[in-house]
Symmetry: C2
Subunit: 332 residues, 2 copies
């Protein structure tokens, strides 16, 4: 059973996920797990993954875990957290821990092994965003979970261990630190100004027009003022909303429109760049929040996290977001 542990000084949690390695020599640094040409996520190999928890577009009449689907969500075969068990919290002297209850799922974004997320046709890409919504809603019914973190690792340098296009989600029994920091930061601004800081940012960015990558009627994509990495982009709904899952079908379509355009622009600037994206939305079962605003953060893997970043929590970025924005705008 994995375990969650809290750093007593910083309040930062970590997951000890023992199953993943056993001896010091097991650490293979940042290399693809070799699957010897075999892909467990490809159609026809459904039986090699844990049983699917969701499927979209399977041809009628076909049984679960058979081929003929457009998108599948399956539990991760090497989960960071496990779904079975009761949440137990305990101390060890001045330390705190709990057992590693959670869910870790893989969203298989397309049947095509060679497909890339960025170039999925809109009718396929929307299935990915629908899957995020449906899985968050489903997992929110489990009272042990406080948050679902949705993310994608693309490319080896960005932590992907499988080539087949996929994203992931982890349901957590605690609120992650990055989310509480955003909630606290936005609340403190709200208390002072009575406005959502993300709404204010969107207003300023639309007016300044120097970090605005693209927009449509519902969404903006911008390079944030203080990005951790060159070509970092944020995608936010123009209208205030704290919950990703409150989106209508039409809004999801417009999200696909801007996501697709933004990612194509990025890919045109730096072909096949490794990247991560994450979804930040309100905690599960929360009432709508006036001070919080859901969004995606897309972080290309172009710089390395080294001693200075570890020690300071500071990032060094070699290119201002106004410059990356210019490149992104001119890219298509």
């Amino acid at each position: 059973m994995p375990e969650l542990r809290k750093d007593p000084i910083l309040g930062r949690w970590i997951i000890i996920s023992k199953e993943r390695s056993q001896r010091p020599t097991d650490f293979v640094i940042e290399e693809f797990k070799s699957t010897g040409g075999f892909c467990p996520l490809c159609p026809g190999n459904e039986k090699t993954t844990p049983s699917e928890v969701m499927v979209l577009g399977r041809e009628p009449g076909l049984p679960p875990n058979s081929a003929g689907w457009q998108l599948r969500v399956v539990p991760n075969k090497f989960p960071a957290l496990v779904i079975e068990g009761e949440l137990l919290k305990e101390g060890e002297g001045l330390y705190d821990r709990m057992n590693g209850i959670g869910a870790h799922e893989v969203v298989v974004e397309s049947p095509g092994h060679e497909d890339r997320f960025v170039y999925l046709p809109p009718e396929q890409m929307i299935l990915v965003f629908k899957a995020f919504k449906n899985r968050i809603l489903d997992l929110s019914r489990d009272p042990r979970f406080l948050y679902v973190m949705v993310f994608k690792n693309y490319g080896r340098a960005a932590g992907a261990s499988l080539e087949h296009p996929h994203s992931q989600l982890v349901a957590l029994p605690i609120l992650p630190r990055m989310v509480t920091s955003e909630l606290e930061g936005t609340l403190s601004y709200y208390k002072y100004k009575d406005r959502c800081i993300y709404c204010d940012i969107i207003r300023q960015e639309l007016q300044q027009d120097i970090r605005l990558v693209c927009q449509n009627d519902r969404f903006v994509c911008l390079t944030p003022f203080a990005p951790r990495s060159p070509f970092e982009m944020w995608i936010l709904p123009k209208q205030h909303s704290s919950s990703y899952t409150d989106q209508s079908e039409e809004s999801l379509e417009r999200l696909v429109n801007i996501f697709s355009e933004s990612m194509r622009r990025l890919d045109a600037c730096i072909p096949n760049v490794p990247y991560n994206f994450v979804l930040h939305t309100q905690p599960l079962r929360s009432a709508p929040l006036e001070h919080y605003h859901w969004h995606f953060e897309i972080v290309p893997k172009l710089t390395s996290i080294a001693g200075f970043e570890w020690g300071s929590g500071f990032y060094i970025n070699p290119m201002p977001p106004e410059d990356t924005c210019k490149y992104l705008r001119e890219a298509l």
Copy 2:
């Protein structure tokens, strides 16, 4: 001139250091800068670095920036922050920025290009720790600086761009987030318990004896309860002290003793593992703090920071610190 920018939601600062790249195609992902066999840090090449700010063990009678030294500290040729100028702070709508005033120096740990920090003889290694002390004390006389971050990147995967053994330091006009988080965390514990949390941790670790890698009369090395990475180690003085620079010559000798032993143990477990270490000490010109305790954090580069870590601020660690401690103990 580099620039410091604050994320308005998280209060996280970043450094925009333009000089380091200009076009999207300049991003070469995690590759060593090729020096074509030429090493600017080797003896004889002193004129190819900026003029030294400190030297130890140069033979008497020789001029500055000549060969015949045991350790040199030089400004970084590609600094993240620059030393000349006045500190200017300004707003841009709801955003905050200041110009990138600071110092960025390289500690050349030994004349030998092939030497490795871990295997430096004690009389050489102590020069490195003396250099850290002297440079912090010297830079603390500049009222523009609030903190000096000392760190080392070893190995390409850990962000090193030169092979010659070296560490670095950055003087900053703000307190980095990681330091303020530690100061806040320790202060809140102190308010509640009237004790330093690091002192309590050392007491508990000495008593439990399951995460204690090694100790001498003045220092402990332990694998922390909630490590970000397998084989993470912390080195702390047994006696309470908030400031690294308050150490006596004798204490520095004992620090070399434990540092050297700990790193040799690590190297025996995973030969030539890439790693970062950072020094956390109190802010410059601070009075001694009852609640804070200086220490080194050594973080091997064995896992990758991917979408989940970016999005959550959470780390997934495949090996409990009790297990890594056992390997480290049995290593020599």
